[in-house]
Symmetry: D2
């Protein structure tokens, strides 16, 4: 595993729990964590139960006893590591967004395609796909329960930047993060929309905004928190992104990714409206799915709150009896499970790097649209460089 | 009262109830209802408790014993009737949208300004302003409880057009309705955003869509329902409108007006996020207001569901004890009350025709933006003709 | 109408609105309001739109031009007025609880039976039956949608007595109110349970409590609010009642009536669980009904929030389009409508005085059980005197 | 660990995760699992990551290399194993209910007291105490945020027995389970009420019911599910328990434990009302806590939904950033953490066996009350034998 911040902890839970909860076709050994600060990474590796730690990812990628390379560093470093790992014949799990540019994402996708031909697998970490309620949402759409999709609304609302004292973390710097709310959390919306509808997003019209443009420099911290140091710096990415997309079969989808939704902590919501029904999900209540069935008898129609904890629901039977809920981290356990199963079965898991590239292209089109006064912009057109 | 459809019934409740619930400075006599079909209007007038009915609004507007003219016909007819009534020295309550074009709305606003100079009042029927929770929302923002407004999200979601058998009502025809979901329900969003934030919307980027473009002709029906006749016709207005606006002080506001939100019946929602807190409202639970207070003690912050039924809440003390809820129609009672009070007090009530014109200009700018590939469009620029 | 407090206002809305909203078989004239304070009742009569006021209910009951006597005074006075009115051949609408004792309720029920034989109707004011969601709940049970009823939970939670400064209103004095939370709001629970299940409550085990036993004397006020005077007095009724009942077909029902549920303003909730499904209602969201259908497909079961505003729902078609909500007072409009229809049709409306007596017997049995250390007590046994 | 059913799996997660998530003062080795079927226990031990398995718990309890004995068998076997383990100097974590009788619970509590004197710790597994929202609820009451407790409502509602085909699991047999819904899930309510209020329950009045008294024999299965075999057997325990309790400082508490709440899967709810505020929790939304603050400004009072995922909330800082939710199993991780910390610190963790005994006494008093026609019964009186 390369990187040991927030996602380092979450992926560690995934690798630790998956083989002990699911009946995996092969066992998992948590070999080595890589970080730039030898002491810090050694501490985390020991704490999380990895056998070793290291400071040079190239060494690790070259090791014979490593089968899977799990990349949990900021987006700017994904391409180099992932391509090297794939070329070294390692299966790769790479965090989202796949890269910070379409160019990098294309190179990674090419590498993944070549690797796949050699039986090497690549997976991009849009983990939310693997929450039971999200997988169920997808399955119900695939079964035809919403009918023809006519509208999608997706929003990812957080509020951790409302406080002007929040320091200038890597997520607020273009060179590390590529983009801001758009690429970090908007990417989840794009992936989820593609996943649950099974349709591509072909054109977009979008607006980006940076509400607080100067922030204290960051002293220490990782993930979504941190301590301020002296001095100030410029926020070089968006902190609010609002965009509209056109799906392949014609439906409009509206998107909002923001870190200024005061009081909303991690509110990823999606609602898909079709001519036969509707489905809605809210990450803050991730064990629930809302379902409106237009074929229900007149007089008793309404949104049904499905508590997605039944044995028949995706991933659930390995866990607890009905009514016993799961949490955020379970998506990472399911991701680890699905990757191991795909590796052993010799099939390509989803979301593929091609999926990650498709997301990247939409992100790029949103940025291009924003630069063009929000005019509708085709995702298929050449990306920015 | 000119017109006797859905709004005719709702306004009748307003006029009937206001003097019997509130202590009005003057009494209300429900004089005459005007409609084009003599029998139908006579029946409705009798049913709703009006003294008379008539078929020619010009006669009624000319009568000496009429003080207030209440216009509840489709938007295309508002300008002519309202201007005539104001010029005849009648106070006017005119349903929203003020008109079907900026041009008409300007003429009406001019007429209202001239009338006001003569002590004649004009009010446009954005009734939702007068729901206790919406007035409270406005008051709490005015008190500074959300601080500086940083984002607004407003949506009005209905689903009555999901059914392709719904006939081609006047609301789906440009000549009567001016626009579709945009002007009919999007207008409420624009007015409410302006009302609660106290800010104008200065520029917009928007997209309009017509999901079902051909429908059966309408046999009979009013309001939101109807029976199909033989033959089909073209839907000449939008049925989904998605747009983004820039408020005067810089915040982004996102809007969605749709009749294809399967399962959402009358879901007008608005959420205002500021640097001190947030407030959210949902018309389907109109007795409630959600309030997030960033100054609450660490550890007990969250969205508070205020049940807006306390005697201290706007309009409530005239009604029932705490916990006893109001419904949709109460906004019309409060509107009647406020208009009578303003007339007697000799003050201009809100929302004024100028407010109605401001809404109309935003609607127009959305249409212009939609024609320009959704590019950002200034509301101040010359309107379409 | 005898009495002119909180219910006086609510019933006035009922009589005023019913003929203007529904197509009644006969018109309603709001004739005279009776109160003990001539000035006060004259003011209220004028305000609410009644033609006259009076101070002696006997005179009014004797008048030839009065068809319906509506009794909205405290429970202790119901029997005398209602019996006199029925004997004078007037149809009677009497507020709940029917009386303050089983004895009085029996006499009233006898009087109603005799009156019915002469074509005179009697109705007791358990208004909540006539909220669309409650009628729908009953209808769905009658259709078999919950199957065999296995449990009922009913609670009525208010918090207006949490404040020790709340004065000693008539509701807190045994001579006027008969009992406290039990008879005032618990009575609604008993009636609603009987109504929706169609079963009698045959035995009970209950506990009564008075949390704050001394309060300031009341200066002025009616309904649920008031202003304190000097001096203190004893609360002579319960302010919390918790009891369990056995329904005729064997199910257990649990009940709580309390005025110490901090933060709950008017939270009447009921949930009926059966072997085919469940239904749940909450008065603070009175336009909604929760429905769990065990016959729904595996994987999409859950509680459905039915927004009870469709034209097909009880009482709704006379009001507004789908999604446009009703409030607390609408039950009174429906009550007036149903009574007028019954009177004209020559049928006995529900809930009859016999229903009111049945409720009274359960209340009495709860008091007897509470006196017997909460031991199970048969409702059929002789009542206390 | 003795036993390897549902709780075997949950406790395994606890032991596996606690040292990898929290900074424990000592490491945890998962040594040996004991079961009666050698193959089955070996399989589970391997799957869950325990080093060994065994079939005789006495051997294991006697081993020198074992520090902690974790008992996850049905209640009937707890006393014998726990006492033996404590006497062998092992720290004991014993699942709830502590025992199936007061007598056994007393013996266990005596053994724990003797052991404590020797530095040996004992903990009973009322895991829900350790969900962040429940600990926060307790903390907020301790800080005085609800003021004087005036009422408690607690319910645990499941529906897995609504289906008459559910087989006769050990939970439905008195010799294994002691009691039914009462002892299995009602025990949680009693513990939680004691925990959050800090008060004992001194007297009770209760009713027990068995709605479906005959069920198919169980073929296989553990926890809450199973497969039917041929033949039928008698359900010898309650499946619904409704009772009222009197807390030490006078408040009434109402309780319901049921397996016939159709549509409610694992709905443990508790609401504590006091003269300064109220707090409410629902296990199906375990990341949330509802808080009503009577000292909030007039006009903005209401129930606040606290998303209990802030770093300042109990246990949360070791997990994820704000808004990233936890699930059911996290209570078991926190339980393992707290036990290890107490063992190393040399302090007695809560809930102690004395707490478990107190719960048992209340359960016993409910059964005695139920046998006495629900008459109020003192918890302090001699227990049944
Ligand atoms: N799937 C999901 O839901 C989420 C995905 N992410 C993604 O995970 C990635 C990491 O994010 P977080 O863990 O939140 O960030 P973080 O700031 O908590 O951790 C990043 C880690 O990468 C290390 N690192 C940075 N540059 C490195 C380099 N060149 N070589 C080796 N290590 C390096 C840092 O030292 C740190 O340990 C990002 O791509 C982010 O978009 C983040 C949060 C949620
Ligand atoms: N404030 C609010 O929340 C709402 C406002 N409205 C507005 O109210 C107006 C009326 O809408 P609805 O009542 O829903 O429509 P409707 O179709 O139910 O009724 C329209 C009425 O106007 C009459 N009418 C049409 N043209 C006329 C003319 N030239 N002269 C006289 N009468 C004429 C029709 O016969 C009918 O009685 C519209 O402007 C609409 O936007 C509608 C619904 C809600
Ligand atoms: N259906 C429902 O949901 C509700 C029913 N009620 C019932 O309505 C009745 C009245 O309650 P509120 O209106 O809340 O009380 P209130 O205190 O507001 O009004 C009572 C009225 O009765 C008058 N009154 C008292 N004794 C009288 C007498 N002997 N003769 C003539 N007038 C007399 C008082 O002056 C006052 O006008 C009670 O039986 C109560 O249980 C009350 C509230 C809700
Ligand atoms: N803290 C909590 O929230 C919960 C606590 N529990 C408690 O956990 C305990 C176990 O319940 P579940 O795991 O649900 O039951 P289960 O039926 O899933 O598992 C019981 C296990 O004990 C084993 N067992 C039974 N008798 C034994 C004996 N004499 N010696 C060795 N092993 C024996 C069985 O083979 C099985 O492996 C019970 O006391 C129950 O009340 C259960 C569920 C939740």
């Amino acid at each position: 595993m390369i990187g040991h911040g927030f996602m380092g902890a979450a992926h560690s839970v995934g690798w630790r729990q998956a083989p002990r909860v699911f009946d995996l076709p092969d066992d998992v050994e948590m070999a080595v964590v890589v970080g730039r600060d030898a002491d810090a990474v050694a501490r985390d590796a020991a704490h999380w139960g990895w056998a070793e730690s290291a400071t040079d990812w190239r060494d690790v990628v070259a090791r014979d006893d490593i089968d899977i390379v799990d990349i949990v560093t900021p987006g700017g470093s994904h391409a180099e590591i992932a391509i090297a790992a794939l070329e070294a014949g390692k299966h790769v799990l790479c965090e989202k967004p796949l890269a910070n540019s379409v160019e990098d994402a294309e190179a990674m996708t090419d590498a993944a395609a070549r690797a796949s031909a050699r039986g090497v697998r690549a997976l991009v970490g849009f983990t939310y796909r693997r929450l039971p309620a999200v997988t169920l949402l997808r399955d119900l759409i695939a079964e035809g329960r919403v009918g023809r999709v006519q509208q999608v609304r997706a929003a990812y609302r957080q509020d951790w930047l409302v406080d002007p004292a929040m320091p200038l973390a890597w997520r607020l710097q273009k060179e590390h993060a590529g983009s801001g709310a758009l690429g970090d959390i908007g990417a989840h919306l794009i992936d989820m929309t593609r996943f649950v509808t099974g349709q591509s997003i072909d054109a977009v019209s979008g607006t980006l905004d940076t509400i607080i443009a100067r922030r204290p420099l960051q002293g220490s911290g990782s993930g979504l928190s941190g301590v301020a140091a002296e001095g100030f710096g410029e926020v070089t990415v968006d902190d609010v992104a609002i965009f509209t997309g056109r799906l392949a079969e014609g439906a409009l989808a509206s998107f909002e990714a923001t870190r200024f939704a005061t009081g909303r902590k991690n509110a990823l919501t999606i609602e898909v409206s079709g001519d036969a029904g509707a489905l809605a999900f809210d990450l803050e209540r991730l064990n629930e799915l809302q379902y409106f069935d237009r074929s229900a008898p007149e007089g008793v129609q309404g949104f049904t709150t499905i508590l997605v904890t039944e044995p028949s629901h995706p991933y659930v039977s390995a866990w607890w009896p009905a009514g016993h809920t799961l949490g955020y981290e379970h998506g990472f356990v399911h991701q680890a499970k699905d990757l191991v199963e795909a590796v052993v079965a010799g099939t390509d898991p989803h979301p593929s790097f091609a999926d990650g590239l498709a997301v990247q292209r939409v992100l790029d089109a949103v940025e291009r649209s924003a630069e063009r006064d929000s005019a509708w912009t085709s995702v298929g057109e050449p990306a920015r460089h």
